[in-house]
Amino acid sequence: MVPLVPGFYSCPSGARSLAAPLGGSARPGPSGACRRWRPREGNIVPPDSSPVEAAVRDDGGAAQRQLALRAQQGDQDAYAQLVRTHQSRIFRHLLNLTGSREEALELSQDVFLRAWQALPQWRPEAQFHTWLYRIASNIAYDVLRRRRIVSFEPLQEDFDAPAGDAGPEALLQARQSMRNLDTALARLPPEQREIVLLREVEGLSYEELAAALAIDEGTVKSRLARARAALVAGYRRTER
């Protein structure tokens, strides 16, 4: 069988497995082989949305559309509401993408200034938040192209690492695992890093990803799969 992610399918012979928890050691099953994946509720569902983003989705973007139409006519109050609704997600995405808080703050301002200038070209058929992500993507790419090495802001020590039921040792391991994943993320090519972040952190659907990245859904599917495989592979390298 050809490995799907090269180098990580030696599980049955007893070597490290992708099935092992990231950040932990391989856990052989009773027979010595790695435990097998079982479909269960929770491991094939999309990521959650934040309350604000959920509200944006729940009204089908209608309120956002109305605000954008008013802003298009020069209504700055309407635009202020749009900025306040979307500023956190745009900043967060740019911070995760560039790795620098100062740069993300500066670029976020650029995004909203450029969006105001470009509002006459916005069409109501487009969702406002995917349109903003597209502008953010273009602006961030200009920056990322200029610098080839991304130095990421380290995760804070009190970061809420998913440690589960555990004590200090497991918490420490979870934090180390987060740091390794962050390093692996920083080493991905920008287009892979971007699609992983938009999907896993921002929770965009395939349709929204296609609109935000100006690619078709088939390309979304393949690019996302490649990015995930590269991230897992990179993560394993940081563990060694």
Partner: protein, 153 residues
């Protein structure tokens, strides 16, 4: 999607399975395969765990109100590019009068000067400004270096 009874599916399908982006029937079939196949099961498991590990990144937030920084910098309405305008009607054509007159005057002057240059006959009107194109310098004070030297300059 292919039948996964024997061969493993492409990684794109496993990734789409994690996203719940496959049709129900395909997803069930692929999930059955992943439950049997250690390699595919491991891949699906790893993709799911990466997602879980990335969720803390959602907590990152700006520590300032970006709107407060952006809104004072927005250009006011007259400076801002307007939405696409409708084509002007017949009643609006008078606005183009001065521009049309200016354009016609410039065109007429160009034609006049062009004809004057091409005519080349003695009878043709020769604008004084065209003397700058003559072989002899303006004023004929010093046609060349030797003649200047002969005058002892």
């Amino acid at each position: 999607m292919k039948d996964h009874a024997g061969a493993c599916p492409p990684v794109e399908d496993l990734s789409a399975l994690v996203d719940g982006a496959l049709p129900a029937r395909d997803a069930q079939e692929l999930a059955r395969h992943a439950a049997r196949c250690p390699a595919c099961g491991a891949t699906v498991e790893a993709f799911g765990r990466v997602r879980a590990q990335l969720q803390p990144l959602r907590a990152r937030a700006p520590d300032v109100d970006i709107a407060a920084l952006v809104l004072p910098r927005l250009p006011r309405w007259p400076d801002r590019p307007r939405a696409r305008r409708a084509a002007p009607g017949w009643r609006d054509l008078w606005q183009f009068g001065p521009r049309a007159l200016g354009g016609a005057a410039a065109l007429g002057a160009g034609v006049y000067l062009g004809l004057a240059l091409l005519a080349g006959s003695a009878g043709a009107v020769r604008p004084s400004g065209m003397t700058v194109f003559d072989a002899e310098p303006v004023g004929a004070l010093c046609a060349g270096l030797p003649s200047c030297a002969a005058r002892g300059r």
